[in-house]
Symmetry: C2
Subunit: 361 residues, 2 copies
């Protein structure tokens, strides 16, 4: 999956409810030539989001194609309705993209490849439909292979879902690269996969193969890098999703943990009868659970302060958070991830092997 | 899945490598009218296994059918080769069973329902093929519903795979019933499902739905019982399978834990480079991880002493194990599970609600 110029579908949801679209625009290597949103067609991206590359917002794929002078490689579905279904109002755009020779990339539960009309049209036009939520069918159980890769491994772990683990991971990779560390992002969810252009959607993998699907990724790229930052999912005490979290933790055989939290969050998102335990308990739980498979400490914290309006209050919250977990901390969006990389490097992680690499390189 | 009279296929593997066959014979409610094993055809079950109901061992399904005077409801596949494939040498027996009007029950990875020849034959004869490793397709995420069932919930948790969690669970249910407690077994693996006649194969469920698939079972039966004993899987520090373990722990919202261990086990089975942590660490990890979702203590221990030859040495090992984890303990096979039930009852679990039930009953 390697597209240089893409259009992003975000009908009626750009920008606030178009998390995938924004993620790709902010962190992907792809050049976004247009955003499809019939509700704000005619605006520019810059009118709504200041910190990403500007592009026109258009009504349809045909308009995007025209605006890009026909130089488009793929249409990315940048939104996901509750339930992950396919909205029939998108079909003309998807068909137009296929007919124009573009691949289509989707993170929906609804698989485009299982839609006979779209699959036939794609075959006819020689383009690929990428359903990034569909795991490879050759995944299997973990063997402990993640422990053998040359790269150091850091995993972002959360106090809850939706606290910013993907963003923290991507910002850490960017900041580490700034510092000359050969770092790579290892995606585990559909948005991360669409940004990175590869990866296994861990939450869709059979539970027996959860750790194995993580290992599969680390083994694929781990000998070519000095630092891998594995995108965490859920939380180890989540009433519904902890299995995914646990499989990523052990499958990655991580060397370091970045604890991610959202300022002010006190109960599990969507499961409000479950209170979040104290931050110190998370440190103990993640470290205690990691240790028998591979020793790992919490080396830094990432605090999401998007619900804190004031910069001073946010800085105070970050300072208090770092103090509570006993590591460097930052809001990677507000502050950048330098302090988090300080924690990683301070723990001895991310340096190239002293001999300049091993036989695996 | 409700069969009264069954034949069990165990070709070339009865009894020592026929774990599923033995489990069904020992714990299932089904009446086993014959075992198929061409290697020891002509023997009796009693010649090999002293403590289960006797039955003839025969060469083929046709012989089993004749021996049972045609009174057979189903053929159970009681063995599972490495990899879970279907051995073509079994096909004549499976076909003969279908042609005789019998259902066929299988825990193989290879799904009988996806074998066109067998599926067509079954349709023609109006019988069902049960692939117990295939999860229901209507499973979804957990909602926390396990916390609302009337029954108290106990989960067997292990220091490793293959330490006897299923056996401990079944023995605890039997011993609790002896004591007048309305207890039920909640199966999570294929052998448990074949024994119980229902259940979700948790290791085959998509990781996002792991906890939900457990909840689905508890909600289905939890209001009709005083005690549910949930079969655990793997171990919370297993390099490959911990996701399954974690999903069962949180999905069951268990009230009590029975820690299961195999005497003498020092490293992860099949992953010998990973040492098992001290027993006290398991207690801390399981209790610490359970608490944010539902408070639960280790209330008893089950030690598998099958590799300890001497009864005195086994008793010493059980005593040392119980002392180390600070609870009553037993080898449920050698000693029965009374001491384990003591621990469960001593923790206040398994008693009927004082008012004789709630509106859910």
């Amino acid at each position: 999956m390697d597209h240089e110029r893409i259009a992003v579908l975000a009908h009626e949801k750009f920008p606030d409810r178009a998390k995938t679209a924004l993620g790709v625009m902010r962190y992907g290597d792809q050049d976004v030539c247009a955003v499809l949103d019939r509700d704000c067609a005619g605006d520019r991206v810059r009118d709504h989001v200041p910190d990403v590359t500007d592009a026109p917002i258009v009504e349809s794929f045909d308009e995007a194609y025209a605006a890009a002078g026909g130089d488009v490689d793929a249409l990315y579905i940048g939104i996901s309705p509750i339930g992950g279904g396919f909205d029939e109002s998108w079909r003309p755009d998807v068909e137009a993209a296929i007919e124009a020779g573009c691949d289509v990339v989707s993170g929906l539960h609804y698989f485009l490849n299982e839609d006979n009309e779209l699959a036939e049209l794609a075959a006819e036009h020689g383009v690929d439909l990428f359903d990034v939520r569909e795991p490879d069918d050759d995944l299997t159980v973990a063997t402990g292979g993640s422990g053998d890769v040359d790269a150091d491994v850091v995993c972002t772990v959360g106090t809850d879902c939706s606290v910013g683990k993907m963003t923290a991971s991507l910002e850490v990779v960017a900041a580490a690269r700034e510092r000359g560390i050969d770092a790579a992002f290892v995606p585990t969810g559909q948005t991360g996969i669409m940004i990175a252009g590869w990866g296994n959607p861990i939450d869709r993998v059979v539970s027996d193969f959860t750790a194995g699907a993580v290992e599969d990724m680390l083994v694929a790229v781990g000998d070519d890098r000095d630092l891998l930052v594995v995108e965490g999912q859920g939380s180890i005490v989540h009433p519904a999703y902890s299995a995914v979290t646990c499989g990523i933790l052990h499958g990655s055989m991580t060397d370091g943990l970045v604890l991610c939290h959202a300022a002010g969050r006190e109960a599990v998102h969507g499961y409000e009868s479950f209170s979040l335990p104290p931050l110190a308990d998370y440190v103990d739980l993640y470290e205690g659970l990691a240790a028998p498979v591979n020793e790992a400490s919490v080396v830094a914290g990432a605090l999401n302060t998007k619900d804190v309006d004031d910069d001073d209050a946010a800085a105070d919250a970050v300072a208090a958070f770092g103090e509570e977990i006993g590591t460097p901390a930052a809001d990677p969006v507000r502050d950048g991830a330098e302090a988090i990389v300080d924690g990683i490097v301070g723990a001895g992680l991310g340096a190239a092997a002293p001999d300049g690499g091993t036989d695996g390189e």
